[in-house]
Amino acid sequence: MSELRFNELRGEEVVYAIHRQDRTFLPDRENCPLDPTRPGGPQTEIPVPSFQIAVFDNRFPAFEQPGGAAEVVVYTDEHDGSFGTLTPARAEALMWVWRHRYGELGARADVRYVMIFENRGVEVGVTLHHPHGQIYGYPFLPPVPALELEADARLGGCAPCELLSRELQDGRRLLIEQEHVVAYVPHACRWAYEAHVVMRAHRPSLLECEPQELRELATVLQRLARGYDALFERPFPYVMVVHQAPTDGARQGHLHAELYPPLRTAEKLKFLAGSEQGAGTFISDTLPEESAATLREAIARAA
C-alpha cells in the first residue's frame, strides 16, 4: 500500500509507492507482459490468446482500493505500433473504454479524480513499449486539476471554454479544427510542441459526450499523434493526459487532452532544471506561434 505525505512547503501530496521500484523495466519483446498469452508462450498479464482492448489493475499500483485506483489500458494485442497507428475503429472504441473507466472509477467513494494518461517513449520514463496507457484514480484532488478550477474562478466561468474562444479568434496557434473538437498550441504553453485538444461544446467529461463527439475526439488525437511522428520523422515521445471534471459530485470541468512532448528539436530534450524546478517558471526557447506553424505542416504531411 502506498503512503501519502503532505509536503507543507509545496502544499501538495507526495505518494510513496516503494513496491514500484521492482516493476518490470523494458523487457525484451519475447517477454512483454502486455502481449496476449499465446499457446506455448509465456504467461502474460492478459491470459487469453488474443484481445482487442484490455484493462487491468496495475501489478505495481501507485494507488489501490480503498485509497484510489491504478489501471493499465492496453490498446491492442499487437506489440508494435502506437496510439496514432491504431485503426480508427479501435481508437474510437478506446474512447468508450476511457468513458467506461471514468464512470466506474469516478463512482467510487475513494476516488476524487480520474486521470487517463499515456506516457510514450523512454524519454518520459516508459518501461513497456507495447501500446498502452494508464488510469489513476486519485483519492484527493491533485494540484493541476485544482489549478484548472482556480482558472475557472479567475476567468469568471469555464476556463477551457474561454481559452478555446480566444484561440479560435486569434487563429495563429490552431492545429486542427473539426466540427466538435479543436487542437491548438496554447498561447502560453510550457513545452515547445505542447498541444491541447478541446471539445467545442462544454462537456465536463467523456460521460456527457455524444457518440459523434467521441469519434471525432479519437480522430483528432490520432491526427495529432501522427503529426508528432512526422515532425522530426521519428517516434515522438509525449505525455498525454485527459483532464475531466473531478468526481466529487460538483461536475465542474471541461473535457480536454493535454500533450506534453519533451523534445524541442529532433535530438534535444527540454529538461526541467533550475527555474522550472526551483521557481516553477518554465523558460522556453520556442515561440508557440512558430511551433504551431511547424506542427501544422507535419500534421498535413502525415494525413
Binding site: Q52, A54, V55, R90, R99, G106, R203, L207, E208, R251
Partner: protein, 72 residues
C-alpha cells in the same frame, strides 16, 4: 457546470446511468452444472462489449471488444 453550449444536459455524477449512450444490458451468464466453464457474461457499453474476469492473483481484468466485431 454540466450543461453544454445548448444547455441540453443537467449535472450528473459519474456512474449515474452513463448519459447519452445506448442502454447497457448484460447477456446470459454461464449455465450451472455440466461442461467446461463458460466465459463470463458480456455487457454492452455504448460502442463496446466488455467481459469482466479475475486474474489468478485476484486482480480485475476487463476485455473490451468493438461492437462491429461482435463474434456471436
Amino acid at each position: 457546470m454540466a450543461s453544454d453550449s445548448a444547455g441540453r444536459r443537467s449535472p450528473q455524477r459519474p456512474g449515474d446511468a452513463h448519459a447519452g449512450e445506448i442502454p447497457s444490458r448484460a447477456e446470459q451468464g454461464p449455465e450451472q452444472g455440466e461442461g467446461p466453464p463458460e466465459p463470463p457474461a458480456r455487457e454492452r457499453f455504448g460502442e463496446v462489449w466488455l467481459q469482466r474476469l479475475r486474474k489468478d492473483d485476484g486482480r480485475a481484468l476487463i476485455l473490451y471488444q468493438q461492437l462491429d466485431r461482435d463474434p456471436s
